[in-house]
Symmetry: C2
Subunit: 229 residues, 2 copies
């Protein structure tokens, strides 16, 4: 078997596993987001501020992926929501099997499942985890060319979150140009500008989450009603 | 053939190709460095400042890898040294074959060949390009845990260049902790702190380069002398 054939088989096995996860989350009305960004893009910091703002009435959980260490899970556990670390032991991305394994025995219903992928702007793009949407994080310290240089993830993400906007006065980063570049790759991409340090943009992000979660919940209820007729 | 067997074969084919490159560069006394870091770690900015400081008497050339675009090559060509862009069209790392192909027909002797890998802290680590040393770039906006979370590259790199130190007043980043973390993973790793914006640390980096290049040149001359006896 050639390398390309093996890659295709791996991806198709992954897609089958992801479809099972997607079906389960759809039945349960759980919104699932797959957060992707470079190492240091601010994924964990955004999740900390998100968990802090979601009250304990929101049934939210986090799966956080890293090659090594459980630093991120320990940071995230402080907010009283369930968090599980996935350690990939070298792999450069999460795959659906890892997610499925870590969903086993999860307690009760979830409104929202946030998956923090391994820090990598390339490889996680190819692996469906059964999510409703991919969200790409790009920090203002990384430069405006990134959507052009790493088009795969910007094509697939519904939302681009610009992070670390508090650093804008100290770096050369043109907000208008990054928006243009992202939309060249994906005209319909949504964009939210945030700073986990100052809190800027977090209300907009939480609002986006809430609207998406409500849509998912309504869909699940319609399907239950339809099945019950 | 299993996926693992395929991966092993790909890596062993790559190693064979890298050995040919290494032999050629050794014969010619060319120091070759493989620069690895996240997207936005500041690889291109460091190379710009490096090319600017190396006089035209230094025979230096750059191969710069990206998934898409030739933005980086265009930035780097302004300094009067030969630059070639390697576009990987989706691949998350450079491999030795891409390097070999782009070395073909390179004009004359080189003292120094700088290879800027694809922005990725994971995958490029596994692919030998025939270099004398890997150099890992870590920006101070990425956090001090990176050596622990991405140990592979920090184990293999001879040198860690901390970049964007001009941003230290505006971010929470503990220099002492990152040094400790890097040395936990690789006790002998060398560390240079730089800012492409202020120029801090660049003399130290150029000095490191010059010492390494002189060592490589002296080795090549000894071997020619030995062969001539």
């Amino acid at each position: 078997m050639t390398r390309v054939a093996i890659e295709k088989r791996v991806l198709s096995e992954n897609d089958a596993e992801a479809a099972v996860i997607r079906q389960r989350l759809r039945r349960e009305g759980t919104l699932c987001l797959n957060l992707i960004g470079s190492p240091g893009a601010g994924k964990t910091a955004l999740l900390e501020r998100t968990l802090e703002r979601l009250s304990s009435e929101n049934a939210v959980a986090v799966l956080t992926g890293d090659i090594q260490t459980d630093c991120d899970a320990r940071r995230l556990m402080r907010y009283g929501h369930p968090v599980r670390q996935i350690t990939t032991a070298g792999a450069c991305h999460l795959d659906a099997r890892m997610v499925a394994r870590h969903l086993e025995g999860w307690p009760g219903h979830l409104d929202l499942l946030l998956i923090e992928n391994v820090g990598n702007l390339v490889c996680p793009t190819s692996y469906d985890l059964g999510e409703d949407a991919k969200v790409v994080l790009l920090s203002v310290t990384e430069g405006e060319q990134k959507p052009l240089k790493y088009p795969g993830i910007f094509k697939k993400a519904d939302l681009m979150i610009l992070t670390k906007t508090d650093l804008l006065p100290y770096v050369s980063f043109d907000l208008e140009r990054v928006r243009t570049n992202a939309r060249l790759i994906h005209p319909a991409i949504e964009i939210i500008e945030t700073s986990a340090t100052t809190g800027a943009g977090l209300d907009e992000w939480i609002g986006w989450l809430a609207a998406r979660a409500a849509g998912k919940q309504a869909q699940a209820e319609r399907e239950v009603e339809h099945a019950g007729r």
